[in-house]
Amino acid sequence: MDSKKYLEDLSEIKDLMQKSSRCISLSGLSGILAGVYALIGAAVAYILVTNSGSPYLILDGYIFRLVLLDLFLVAFLSIATAIFLSTRKARKNGEKIWDTSSRRLVINFLIPLVAGGLYILIILDQQKYGQTGALMLIFYGLALVNASKYSLGDIRYLGYTEILLGLIAALFPGYGFWLWVIGFGIMHIVYGAFMYFKYDRI
């Protein structure tokens, strides 16, 4: 009985099923760095607001625009780092970065995220500010849960965590900033480190 050949067949089948349906090149290190950027960004925003002389963030003001720029920089750096490190990981494993599975990952990640982003912009324009942090966490969590079907399954749990933190932030709007720091800063570092040790460090 040539069971060794059958065993090879089975492992190749498993490998192809995995490779063709999921983009597994996502780098854990990029999660850690995204968390670090978020913490730095939050610290900058905190200093800007506390030094502005007013305990509240005045919308349409100079400080508000700086905070928005800060937020945008955090998002931009996180995405750029994720693309750079994941491309490097894919190349190291001899895989293509832009294939059917990564395309599906990006599209399914972006649908809840873009919908949420537009929604936040719309309600900000209607002067409803209190729930912004909560909504960012919730929609980001939904985007992660939706994308987890096309990538490493572990990011689903990060998604659940973000949604939970977002709901707590919605209940206690006063703690929105700190829940944002936990969700985007600390949780990224925790999950990124977990994924780094589980998948990358071989």
Partner: protein
Amino acid sequence: MGIINNINKAFDHRVRLGIMSVLMVNEYADFKMLKELLDITDGNLASHAKALEQAGYIVVEKRFIGKKPNTRYKVTSPGRKAFKEHLSALEHLINRSE
């Protein structure tokens, strides 16, 4: 002997196993995607896909995206059933010889 009978001759090749594996977990796969995943030549892929099509395990859809012809493959429900049986037969054989 029932188990041996489930080892399906139609799947008894690396490329055919590969095509079926990809199609089991994807709604469809086009020619280029299969070719890249399996790392084989056009002719090789075409002939094995043809064999699976003739067995009724996959269907081939030829269409045009703009002016470019595009061939995509889907697994049929008999194909899905046959491949599952083939997989459990493989597992049985391995477990028995251990």
